[in-house]
Amino acid sequence: MGLINILTFPGVVVHELARRTFCRMARVAILDARYFGAGDPGGYIQYETPRKPWQFLMIEIGPFFVNTLLGAVIATPGVIPLLLFGIDSGSLPDYLLAWLGFSIAVHAFPTLDDAKLARDVAFARGTPALTQILFGPLSWAIYLGALGTLYWLELVYGLAVVILAPHLLLTRF
């Protein structure tokens, strides 16, 4: 994972900044943070225990959507010519955008420990029913995704985002 973190460092930074932003939105104090490092995990945000389960779930699950959406938006214009005319037909900006988008999408999933905690909080006895309904299935899906990162699923997910997003947009445009 260390090498992947180095090669895809923008994704680590985006994930941690997204988490920082969700902490601010939920008004949860940040105790310590590292936005990028060569180790594993590449970054972390240590925050105080949120008072409400939805705050915790928003902080843990929110970055998944930020990384996925931002990765798709950035990669799409770079990947379109590569998909249509071949991998060797792109210009430098195309390759740069494709790499940047892929790097960001690769880091959509939280760490396995965080995902497991989010799943547990989503189904904890004290969690309100509405929060369970809103976040429950999502937390399970993200937990399974995070589990898959043990088997390099994040790379498959990153590739799927940068290939499927332009493909879907082209068929609907």
Partner: protein, 154 residues
Amino acid sequence: MPETERCRKCGSRPAQPGYETPLCRQCRQAMLHHRIPDGILVLVILILAGLALALVRLPRMLKGGAAYERGLTHERAGENAKAAQDFAAALRRFPNDTTVLAHLAIAYHHAGDDAAAQPLLRRLVGRTMSGELKQALSLCQQEINARRSAQPTP
């Protein structure tokens, strides 16, 4: 009377009640704005520049890509005039792309517009492309030459 817990950070003000981590209101507020290191800020600016570049290029790529795909659909259906229109629209977005140029030249030729196909065929000389496209272009050129030689000279 029980003593109120002090803030873990400043140690002087009383901690806000209802939180697990004992912090006063001022310190909690300050800790919401955790400082981002300068190196990371530079990276953020670069990522935002990438996002801006992507947003600027996105409409052009989508329009060009969709036009190219429509062109392929018309080409397969044998609607060569429509295919030529779509490939011409794609070429405006991908001005020097070999594949688009080749498909446009072929569509023009099949639509009977050799005058439009000829300059495109000249632009394609010496370019690398798939064997299938190369074969189709060579057939076009042969047909154009044959038509030309069949025309009566004044």
